[in-house]
């Protein structure tokens, strides 16, 4: 009967899981896009590949720490329960993490890989057998990884959406919302990383690509949030009452000002402002470094807030308590 | 066993019978099937009797590894109806309360400062005996006061006071229900039980039976009301749980219940609805009553009570139509106003004139069961008269109980003689009596204060020496006969050994008696005492039975109408039910209840009303961790209209001030109270730091209550205080 059984660690975990999925997806996509038979965005593909596994690995560690009995986490893998989103999610997450690491490994520059293995004692022969060049299999690994990344992106939403007891969550739109938010966060994180990498300054076409990608994902996310709100209003009373949490209730300001405003609409406006001249009037895309920094950071904050709001408000919502909340 | 056994399922069926079967009398269904009691090496089940409130329910304690794990209801006791309430269940935490007094202690700091020196029992006894002897030497034995509250071992404490030579034994009834007891005794010669199980129409004045305590009355009535077999009319300035469950709730103007009752009598007599045969055969003074109530019309009562006259008339008609299965319920804690006795008398008279005496669904004189008695050496009668001058001021009151508030006045004034030592058993006068400042003054005037209790009450906190009593689960007590419609004998035996250095009250009394040279009067053990009591129980192998079952009930078949024979003599002066009382007249009181409008609070004040909730017993158990969870502090109920006028918001801290004190409380702005009253719950705002959960949390009503008492019984009147409420 604690109001919040899931707290900040879960929020962070959901955010990081989605972030990895988004990073992998964007990086994989960049790997597939070619101009004249040559990869169009090799630096994006590499940056994404190298970053992708870490957030989810950290997130999973946090999730395990959040368990009442962290050392029993292995039990997640001694059972498979197809009815439980968490059970499916655990497997999905694990496989995705492994693929993401393999994919990152495939993108590891030769000298880094050699340096890494030079630290492994020579007697550990089995380990040294892993010292192989996978760069030829990047496309295959990306192809295998795509569905998993989408799966993880969706899963973080399904985990909440599958809970029929919480009217705030219990709609199929939550999964999509979380997915597009994840993909948008991935694109934004890549943009941020590229902008911050001063040794290899980001190039204009790269900025343009990532901004375009993000505009698409944010728009899709908006197209889910609107029906979520409208549908909720038209739904059964309990859902309508649950939506009150963000339509007048305790999470209203956080949702509208910070998430919708700062986390979604403002970065979208910045990105459109940057892209529109080149798109509509055919002008050269310049790409302001500062605006890219601002937009990408705000998108990440928005992605985090979405999960924060959903995890907390969702726990407050309930079929039998809602009437009394008002 | 000779009892009728009945399956629980059948019992439920019986109580669930539809109104169509209303004619059936529900009796004999009070013992259910015996539950399988498993016994493993480590697990024992010991029947005992609950002590957390005065109802004395039978319980079966489950002991595992030497610890009490669970208390289950014992279905064999008709008076506990196979239940234990929240308190009963939480008794385990009384034993394992970290705040318990764990060994005898002698005060080393100033009184109330909370500095204690743990001592051995010998030291504690020697110290107390020396002090008592000094007071006796200097002022005589009557200078000692012995106050206690109802309990199986109270008798030993009381006897020590008497053997010591003091007439000043003061018990709880005048802080409780002395006015009811006296009013019914004066009318019927006894206080009957109310057959709520079979009643069809019940009126209650503020007796909050569904909320303040759980007894058979609670259970019988909730069944009847909810199965639509009984109608409940409830008068209370506050919307209680009982009000919520009642068929009709009237937020009566406080202090005017007597007007309502007199108007009912008026209607019943005027419309010729009284039970003429019964009145002729068993009562005296009816004609005087008929004359007396002529002016008490429903229209007059409407002005007094704010209950519409048409409702009073209708209720009077319904009440007399339902007779003899109709009841004006007496209530338990009853002491509200200075006319309380007369209000209860009027209830008794109303009941008498519709002829519900000794009838199914009416009032039933209590059946008793025989019990043996241990005969100990009797002492000389105390020579001095009582310090409360009960003979002079309250000649009709129960002499053995004393009159608490008058006693305090006299002790404070030092007249008729000084009282310098105060022994207290199981009672907390600091919270039980109104006007705590006066009680503190009385404490200050004492040369010696000794307290015997299980927990560190506020009274114990101010004592000079504290004797820790073993909790009820840790001791064996005398056998008790529970008189009633379904009489029973209950026994409390030791379930576990005391976990701290505590003693049962008898051993504490004996320890003191030995040092006071009174050992001869207490020359027995609890086992001898109990064996003597077992001896006359009308069952074979009584001792074995009681130890195995913890309770013995008669057949479960109540008998009605035993007193309705021409030669029955009521224990009154005339031998009849006295509608008109010569004895009251002789004592200078109204022989028939006369109404006087109660004083109303001025515009800027509220009448403070009090109440209880069944999680706690008076000021006790609010420190019990399992019960404390349900209510962590008390608050001040105030109607939104009144609160708005004063700018008081829900949850705001307010000052509640009377002529004798002021407390701070959180405001609970609620529709559930009359706009001219405020309400607070009893039992919080403790001064004792060894009540750590409620120490200084909320407030004690005793701080702001003013001293007032009922004129006839001396019963404290708790609703006579007007308070000012302001934002703090």
């Amino acid at each position: 009967m604690h109001e919040f059984n899931w707290g900040l660690l879960i929020v962070v975990y959901l955010f990081l899981g989605g972030l990895s999925a988004g990073l992998f997806f964007a990086a994989g996509l960049a790997n597939y896009l070619e101009v004249d038979g040559q990869p169009a965005y090799p630096r994006i593909a590499r940056m994404g590949a190298l970053l992708a596994p870490w957030p989810v690995a950290l997130g999973s560690a946090l999730l395990i720490l959040d368990l009442g009995n962290w050392y029993r986490f292995y039990k997640l893998f001694t059972h498979f329960r197809w009815e439980s989103p968490m059970s499916i999610g655990s497997w999905l997450l694990t496989l995705f993490t492994l693929i993401a690491f393999a994919y990152a490994f495939a993108w590891l520059p030769e000298e880094w890989r050699m340096k890494l293995f030079s630290k492994v004692p020579a007697t550990w022969k089995q380990v040294h057998r892993l010292n192989v060049d996978l760069s030829a299999h990047r496309k295959t690994l990306a192809m295998i990884g795509f569905p998993f990344s989408i799966g993880v992106g969706i899963y973080t939403g399904v985990l909440l959406g599958a809970v029929s007891a919480r009217p705030f969550w219990n709609t199929n739109l939550v999964a999509q919302m979380f997915l597009f938010s994840a993909l948008s966060s991935g694109a934004a994180a890549l943009l941020l990383a590229m902008v911050l990498d001063k040794r290899n300054p980001i190039e204009t076409h790269e900025t343009k690509f990532l901004i375009t990608l993000d505009i698409v994902f944010i728009s899709l996310e908006l197209f889910i949030i609107l029906p979520y709100l409208i549908h909720g209003q038209l739904s059964v009373l309990a859902v309508k009452q649950a939506l009150w949490l963000i339509l007048g209730g305790p999470y209203t300001v956080l949702f509208w000002v910070f998430f919708m405003g700062l986390g979604l609409l403002v970065p979208l406006a910045i990105e459109v402002y940057e892209l529109a001249p080149s798109l509509l009037k055919g002008r050269t895309f310049h790409g302001s470094r500062n605006l890219a920094l601002a937009a990408s950071s705000l998108v990440l904050v928005g992605g985090f807030l979405l999960r924060y709001i959903f995890v907390y408000a969702g726990q407050l919502s309930s079929f039998h308590k809602m009437g009394m909340l008002h | 066993m000779g009892t009728t056994r009945m399956d629980r399922r059948l019992f439920l069926k019986a109580t669930g019978a539809t109104a169509g079967a209303a004619a059936s009398i529900q009796v004999g269904c009070l013992s259910y099937f015996k539950k399988g009691r498993s016994a493993t090496a480590d697990r024992r089940e010991v029947p005992t009797t609950c002590e957390l409130c005065p109802n004395k329910c039978s319980a079966i304690a489950v002991v595992e590894g030497g610890l009490v794990k669970k208390l289950n209801p014992n279905p064999e006791n008709p008076k506990s109806r196979d239940m234990l309430c929240a308190r009963g269940n939480a008794a385990i935490k009384q034993v394992y309360d970290p705040d318990r007094i764990k060994q005898p202690m002698i005060r080393v700091g100033a009184r109330g400062e909370g500095k204690w020196k743990p001592v051995s029992w010998d030291e504690a006894f020697d110290f107390a005996a020396k002090k008592l002897a000094e007071v006796k030497e200097k002022h005589g034995p009557q200078a000692s006061l012995w106050s206690s509250t109802e309990g199986f071992q109270e008798v030993f404490f009381k006897n020590l006071g008497l053997a010591f030579g003091s007439p000043n034994i003061v018990r709880h009834p005048t802080l409780c229900l002395a006015s009811v007891n006296l009013a019914y005794s004066m009318t019927f010669g006894t206080v009957p039980s109310f057959d709520l199980l079979n009643s069809r129409y019940v009126i209650m004045s503020g007796a909050n039976r569904f909320e303040s305590i759980i007894t058979p009355d609670t259970m019988d009535l909730i069944g009847g009301v909810m199965e639509r077999k009984a109608k409940l009319i409830y008068l209370d300035p506050r919307f209680t749980v009982t009000a919520a469950k009642a068929d009709e709730w009237y937020p009566i103007k406080p202090g005017t219940d007597l007007a309502f009752i007199l108007a009912m009598i008026h209607v019943i007599i005027k419309e010729n609805r009284h039970s003429k045969d019964f009145i002729a055969a068993y009562t005296t003074g009816f004609d005087l009553l008929a004359e007396h109530v002529k002016s008490y019309t429903p229209e007059w009562a409407e002005k007094e009570t704010e209950i519409p006259a048409k409702d009073i008339i209708r209720i009077a008609r319904e009440f007399s139509d339902a007779a003899p299965r109709s009841l004006y319920y007496a209530g338990r804690r009853s002491s509200w106003y200075q006319n309380d006795f007369q209000m209860r008398r009027a209830q008794a008279i109303l009941n008498a004139i519709v002829g519900n005496w000794d009838q199914v669904g009416g009032m039933v004189p209590n059946a008793k069961l025989p019990k043996g008695e241990f005969l100990f050496m009797p002492w000389d009668e105390p020579k001095a008269p009582r310090v409360d001058e009960i003979d002079k001021h309250f000649p009709l009151a129960a002499k053995g109980d004393g009159v608490y508030l008058k006693l305090r006045e006299n002790v404070l004034s030092g007249k008729p003689y000084p009282v310098k030592a105060w022994m207290v058993y199981k009672q907390d006068p600091m919270n039980a009596m109104p006007d705590q400042a006066k009680t503190l003054k009385m404490i200050e005037g004492m040369d010696f204060i000794g307290v015997i209790d299980v927990a560190m009450s506020d009274m114990a906190w101010y004592a000079d020496v504290v004797f820790p009593e073993s909790a009820y689960l840790e001791r064996t007590d005398p056998v008790e006969v529970m008189a009633g419609i379904w009489p029973a004998v209950v026994y409390r035996q030791q379930v576990v050994k005391p976990i701290h250095d505590t003693k049962p009250n008898l051993e504490i009394v004996q320890g003191l008696a030995k040092r006071l040279g009174l050992s001869d009067y207490f020359d027995y053990t609890i086992e001898q005492w109990v064996d003597a009591e077992f001896k006359e129980l009308p069952i074979p192998m009584a001792a074995e039975h009681m130890k195995k079952h913890g309770v013995w009930a008669a057949s479960g078949q109540p008998s009605y109408g035993k007193t309705l024979t021409p030669d029955h003599r009521f224990v009154t002066k005339t031998g009849k039910i006295e509608i008109f009382s010569e004895r009251l007249k002789e004592a200078g009181h109204d022989p028939l209840p006369v109404y006087a409008s109660p004083e109303q609070p001025p515009a800027d004040r509220f009448r403070l009303i009090l109440g209880r909730v069944g999680y706690f017993t008076h000021a006790n158990h609010s420190n019990n961790v399992w019960l404390h969870e349900f209510m962590k502090e008390n608050d001040l109920w105030i109607n939104p209209k009144s609160a708005a006028k004063l700018g008081i918001l829900n949850g705001a801290i307010v000052d509640v001030t009377s002529s004798v004190g002021s407390v701070k409380l959180k405001a609970r702005v609620t529709e559930e109270i009359r706009p001219d009253c405020v309400f607070m719950l009893h039992g919080f705002g403790k001064k004792s730091k060894m009540q750590s959960l409620v120490y200084n949390v909320g407030a004690s009503d005793a701080v702001i209550l003013e001293t007032a008492w009922d004129k006839v019984s001396g019963n404290a009147a708790f609703h006579e205080t007007f308070v000012k409420v302001t934002n703090a």
């Binding site: - | 109802e150 018990r171 009834p173 005794s185 005969l375 009151a397 129960a398």
Partner: protein, 106 residues
């Protein structure tokens, strides 16, 4: 008891001094239970007697007569004179028309 006897008892009661001063209620209860009750108990060798068996006046009359066993034996032969006084006090105090408001517990 025949009506004549009742009448005589009544007359006796009215003409005799009404109070038995100075006896001890507590001791009276003790001796009553110890001595009288040894026979006058339910199932005892004599008829059950309780304080409620008589009114105050009837008890006073009974003690004024000072007889026992339907008048065959003097009360003094069962109880010492002082004990008789105590028992009388106890029985009168708790007679069937005595004012004895009920209490709670104790």
């Amino acid at each position: 008891m025949s009506n004549t006897v009742k009448l005589l008892v009544l007359i006796a009661a009215l003409t005799l001094p009404l109070a038995a001063e100075g006896g001890s209620d507590t001791k009276g209860k003790f001796f009553f239970k110890k001595t009288c009750k040894s026979c006058h108990a339910p199932g005892g060798s004599a008829k059950e007697v309780t304080p409620l068996s008589k009114t105050q006046a009837q008890w006073k009359a009974y003690f004024a007569a000072g007889k026992h066993k339907k008048g065959a034996e003097k009360l003094d032969s069962v109880l010492k004179p002082e004990q008789v006084k105590d028992v009388q006090t106890f029985l009168v105090n708790h007679a069937s028309d005595s004012p004895q408001p009920e209490t709670c517990g104790g």
